[in-house]
């Protein structure tokens, strides 16, 4: 990538999100799922943000989805694409689109999960053209 790699700040885990980041270290993306309403949510929470139920768990996502929106930040030493990706499971998550021509990213484009290392923390879920 031209201009070197952008440094990724380490995400900080807490008791509620520890399992998410442990799975990330194994290369797995988890999303929240609620047994009460049956719906997925993101980011995963102990209490379902959709129905308020407490019967939530984290389940593995397929890692496939489409670009909902994006923007390439130009006014920085290493330009990067901030994006929302809608997973095939139906939730939309903030991420980066990486390992591609930033000028070729399009809304609706299919993408797949890749984990990228952070600075001294667990890897973070990003996406690249499928």
């Amino acid at each position: 990538m031209a201009g070197g790699e952008r440094k990724i700040p380490a995400p900080e885990a807490n008791p509620e999100t520890k399992a998410f980041w442990e799975a990330a270290a194994d290369g797995r993306l988890l999303i929240g799922k609620c047994a009460s309403c049956g719906k997925p949510h993101y980011y995963p929470r102990a209490i379902c943000p959709l129905c308020g139920g407490e019967a939530t768990e984290m389940v593995q996502a397929s890692g496939r989805g489409v670009v909902y929106s994006y923007s390439v930040m130009r006014r920085v030493p290493v330009p990067y694409a901030l994006a929302y990706v809608t997973l095939d499971e139906g939730v939309t998550m903030m991420t980066n689109i990486v390992d591609c021509d930033l000028d070729a990213i399009r809304i609706g484009q299919r993408v797949r999960l890749v984990f990228k290392p952070s600075e001294g923390g667990p890897p973070v879920p990003m996406f690249t053209p499928a």
């Binding site: 807490n14 999100t17 993101y42 901030l82 998550m93 903030m94 973070v124």
Partner: protein
């Protein structure tokens, strides 16, 4: 209980500075408070309610109450970013209606220029917020978050950069008449679409200015308003809302104005067609476009056509907006533009806007604040005021 007619905006003040190297943050708050109280014809000792937000130094307004020597029986430090002060006017009216205070003071101040803050292009870490780990690693800044809303709007509705540019063009036409505006040069659509790209599709001239400064508003009960000499501006309706990611059901095509707007119109008993002037939060051009749709000034998706061809220029188009030059050209003190939105609406209702931009027969005006980010979570506040 409705707040319709329960309170009046008696005093407003926009601090004249745009770069405050030689003033402290507390001083800017206090100078703004003095200005608004003098405008109202009141003094510090009349104040019994104080409202401030996250820009006020110290713990929830206590330091500012101490600094200014206020004797209070009511405080409210609701924090919804730049929309806080529009909400504060509504909360002040509620407190007055409930008998909790008689004279409410609202202040705002900040020094982002003096402090060299990279307001729009550096990610901000809100510490223990539960979303931080799931967002901060990806480099969300103010600009690229709003840019994602703009990108999606363009995708769904065919909105163009040239249409967004008309919003900046209108603001610049107004700012040329404001001697205190940071940017007074009139710009064209070509100037905007040829300015440097910051974060696609938002260019430099799609972004608001970064300024030091502040402002204040004084809200009073009707009995007090009636013995003051300034033209009376009555609060007739307000609405507020928080919009967020809905647990992953992200939709960037609308704002919290879809809820705050109808609530305010219903309370005021007016419709968009009755509004003669609007102050619309303009952190970026896209903020204005989506907000105008959500408030019902045009159909969803038609905002691009609505703002084009000078429709927001006073004396030219149908809906004069941000006649001080707004955040895009005049002032965005503390990176929070909600207070100055109310100030210019009050100037318009009093007939005290610059003659070149004064809206005709301006009997009812609307001010709308958007605080936080269109891309993640934000507070929306709509306020409708009437000249009495």
């Amino acid at each position: 209980m409705s707040i319709r007619g329960k309170a009046y905006i008696a005093g407003v003040f926009e601090h004249p500075t745009r770069k405050a190297d030689d003033k402290s943050l507390a001083q800017l708050h206090a100078e703004s408070a003095r200005g608004a109280l003098a405008d109202a014809g009141l003094t510090r000792d009349d104040v019994d309610g104080y409202f401030c937000a996250g820009d006020a130094p110290g713990l929830g307004g206590l330091s500012m109450a101490d600094y200014m020597g206020l004797k209070l029986r009511h405080m409210d430090t609701t924090e919804t970013g730049g929309s806080s002060y529009v909400i504060h006017v509504s909360h002040a009216a509620q407190a007055i209606a409930a008998g909790k205070c008689d004279v409410a003071l609202i202040t705002l101040a900040g020094r982002p220029r003096a402090e060299g803050m990279a307001t729009g292009t550096a990610p901000r870490n809100y510490g223990a917020a539960p979303d931080v780990a799931f967002e901060f690693p990806f480099g969300p800044t103010v600009v690229n978050q709003y840019a994602m809303a703009a990108m999606r709007h363009m995708h769904e509705f065919g909105t163009t950069s040239a249409q967004l540019a008309w919003i900046k063009v209108a603001a610049s036409h107004h700012a040329q008449h404001n001697p205190r505006a940071l940017l007074r040069e009139v710009v064209t659509v070509e100037d905007v679409v040829n300015s440097p790209m910051i974060s696609d599709p938002l260019r430099r001239l799609d972004c608001c200015v970064i300024t030091d400064g502040g402002g204040a508003i004084v809200v009073v009960r009707p009995e007090i308003a009636k013995r003051l000499v300034r033209p009376r501006v009555k609060v007739i309706g307000a609405g507020e809302s928080a919009k967020h990611q809905m647990g992953g059901q992200v939709d960037l095509t609308y704002t919290g104005a879809v809820r705050s707007g109808p609530a305010a119109f219903a309370e005021a008993g007016v419709t968009p067609a009755d509004i003669k002037y609007v102050s619309i939060y303009d952190s970026f051009t896209i903020t204005v476009l989506i907000t105008l749709e959500d408030l019902g000034f045009c159909v969803k998706g038609e905002g691009g056509k609505f703002v084009a061809n000078g429709n927001l220029i006073s004396g030219v188009g149908k809906l004069p907006f941000n006649t001080d030059g707004g955040g895009l050209c005049n002032n965005h003190p503390a990176n929070r533009g909600g207070l100055t939105k109310v100030v210019e609406a009050v100037r318009q209702l009093r007939g005290e806007a610059h003659p070149e931009v004064q809206a005709k027969n301006c009997g009812v005006a609307l001010a709308h604040g958007t605080g936080g980010s269109l891309g993640t979570r934000h507070g929306s506040a709509t306020l409708i005021m009437e000249r009495e």
